[in-house]
Every structure is written in C-alpha cells, then in structure tokens.
C-alpha cells in the first residue's frame, strides 16, 4: 500500500513540476545539430517534447561548416514554443587581384592589401569597399553562394584614339 502512496506522491510532484513549464520544440536546417539550452545539451535536432520554464533562456547551436548561432529568448508562460533555426554555411573563399596598391574592406570589418587572401565567409551578401591612396574607388555587394575564388579588376578607361 505504501508503494502506491509513494507512486501517487511522485506523480503529483512530477505534475507540479511540469505545471508552468512550456513545451519546447526546436527545428533546425540542417538537421542533426546539437542544441544547447543554457549550456545543457538537449540532443540533436529536431527536438520534441522538451520542457522549459518561462523566463530568459540562451540557445546555442553549432555545427561544423556553419556559422554558430546564439539566441536569447524570453519564454512567455505559453502552452508551447516552437523555434526554427536556419544555420548559414561558411564557405572558403579566395579573393585575388592583379591590381596594385588597392586596399579591400569587407563588411566594414576585415581589411587586406595583399593580392591573394583566403577567407571563410558566411553564405550571403557581403559589402565590399575598395580604397586606393586613401580614397574609396569602389563599393559593391558581392554574393557568396559556394566555395569559390573572386578576381577583382579595375575598370580600365576606354582608349581615346
């Protein structure tokens, strides 16, 4: 009889602990990505039927070959939260130019003045700015959609002859 009381008590405790928790589902593209919630590994995506307490939580999603994603989420006291994360791949890119005396800047962050540089860039659009003798001579957006090489050329003036 005592055994049944213990089971009932345990069930009640479990139910009480689950009350107020929010059902959590996490989908990722690509799948089979390790999902960490507040530093605890929830397993590989897709995550189903996990529970999370209302409040601020930090998600960390990492996969080799993809840009890591960190996401702070305030979980409201709702019935369920479904999160979709899309990881963006990182591609190996070479940037080459035969032109002399140019300085390149990408996304306002990375600068280089050598003729060949190897970069690892997140897939998508990147803003390229080109300087020559301290002046901006070109600005344009380049699209990185696969591992590849970019060759940069200056526009040559048409011959006046």
């Amino acid at each position: 009889m005592k055994y049944y009381y213990k089971r009932i008590a345990a069930s009640l405790l479990l139910t009480a602990s689950l009350i107020g928790q929010v059902k959590l589902a996490v989908n990722t593209i690509p799948t089979r990505v390790d999902v960490h919630l507040d530093g605890i590994n929830l397993g590989s995506s897709p995550i189903r039927n996990e529970r999370v307490t209302p409040g601020v939580h930090k998600f960390e999603i990492k996969k080799k070959g993809y840009a890591p994603l960190t996401y702070d989420l305030l979980v409201n006291p709702a019935q369920a939260v479904q999160l979709d994360f899309f990881l963006n791949p990182v591609y190996k890119v070479r940037f080459k130019t035969e032109e002399k005396g140019l300085i390149f800047e990408l996304n306002g962050e990375h600068r280089w003045d050598v003729q060949l540089v190897r970069l690892e860039l997140e897939a998508g659009n990147h803003f390229l700015r080109v300087f020559k003798i301290g002046e901006i001579i070109d600005e344009q957006t380049i699209r990185v959609d696969e591992p590849k090489k970019f060759n940069y050329y200056l526009k040559k003036p048409l011959s006046e002859e």
Binding site: P30, N76, D84, N125, E139, I142
Partner: protein, 298 residues
Amino acid sequence: MRMNQRILVHLILTFEIILGFNPEPTYLVLNYFDRDLPAAEQALIDNFSNSTFEFDPSIHHMFENIDNHENPAASHMVTIKELGEKYQVNYILFNRIEHINDRFILNGLLFNTRSGGLIHRRKIDLKQYLNGQINELNMWVGNTVGRVEKNWEKNRESILFSDPEEINYEKTPRGAAIRSLAAPGWGQAYSGKKVSAGLWASTESSLSLAAIISFLNYDKAAKSFLKNSKLYDGTNDEKEVADYRAAAENDWNDHKKYSQLAIVFAAATGTGWIANSIHAWIVGPRPYTNIYQQWNTK
C-alpha cells in the same frame, strides 16, 4: 515603435466564418510588418482561398513588443476577447515581421479568444532571402491552420545555401586529375586549357615513343649480341672470329646505351605522367567570379 515603420494590418477571415456554419476552428490573422511587403497580401489571398481581408488600424497597441509586458501571455487578454467576439473566431494569429540588418525575424503568436491567452508562439530568425518573408509567413499561417503546401517547404529548402560538402560540381579538379592520369592532356582539355593539354599530350607522346624505341633498340642489340656471340663461339676462321667479335662488341655497347636510354625515357615518361596529373588538378575547374569595378573614376 519607430516612427518610420510602416504598419500593415490585415484581417483574414475564412469564408466559413462569415457564413457562420463551419464547426472547424476559425482564425483571425493579424499581420504587422515593419517594412512594406506588398506581395504578402496577394500571396495570402492566393494561397488561402475562401478568405477575406480587411484593414483595421484600431488595434495598434498589439504592435508593441509583447515581451515588454509584465505578463506577456496575458497582456492582450481583453483585446483578444473583444476581437474574438467582434469577428466570431476561435483563435487569433498575430504575425510580426521585423528586419534587423540583413536578417528578419518572424514572430508568430497564437491566441485563444475564449481565454484571451497566448497558447502558441513561434520565432524564426534567419538571413534574408528573396521573398523569404512571404514564404515563411505562408508556412506559419498554413502550419497553424493545417494547410501547408509542399512547394513552400521546397521553396524554403531551395533558397537556403547548400552545405559545402553536399555541393556537386559538374567538373572538378579531381575529375581533371583522373582524366590526365588515364591519358596525358585529357584533364587539361577537360578544364578548357587547350594549349597545355596539347603540350602535355605531345611531350608525353614523345617521351613514351622515345622510351619504346630505346627499348626496341636495346632488345634488338641484346638479341644481336647473343647471335654474334654464338657465331663467334662456333667458328675457327680467323677473319670471322674478328668480325663476330667486333659485331658482338658493338651490340654490347648498343645494348648498354639503349638500356640506359630506355630507363631514362621511361622514368621521364612516368614522372611526366604524374606531373601532368598534378598539373591537371592544379589548373582543374574551380568556381570563380570576376568582379569589375563599378564606380566611374574620371
């Protein structure tokens, strides 16, 4: 809320709701976009037939960030209940699309009009892609009302960038190397390097031919040496002895010379063959993009 934000609110009422006889759950869909998404309205009309759209700016307080409230899930209870009664719906789906730099966030909130509480929330945070907002909006609305079309999922998959390990190229440096290993110059020709293809093919052909000729001469000299040695051993004639001896000595020298040449040419052929394959890999087809200066520098 920023002053320059453009607010678009659409009310979607299913046709059955208006007629008021459908026992299926009914939804009122409210959209809030921080940027003008003119195609979104038409996409929803097209994808969710039997729906009607209205514009109602009176519920502007729902545009505020729900997370700023002390009790986010219950912060709009009164409004939700009022809207539920006004439009006679079971659920209210509130979609907020906000753009932050090169990303957009779709925040989907599903409210129950009976309790007025938030019952389901979904956030999507992703890098912008062409018409991605509209596709994601369709998917979320369709997911909630149970009408997701396959092509939306395919569309999402197709616009996402590929896993670098899963990218298949029609022509690869490895393919070029293998071809050149099979036939010198083939890999270079496969990569479109016709001059180097011709050079490698002619060089390797010449070296191979030289090695074969050297070997044939070696073989001929060796056989001739054996023949002359036999004749030398079989005669006692003084003149013949001298002739066979001279011939055998010449054959011996030739056999040594052609043996060395055959080894040198064979080694050169083999080394060149491998070098040609490595060269094919180096100059093999790789994706590239030429960027030309866009600004006019006068």
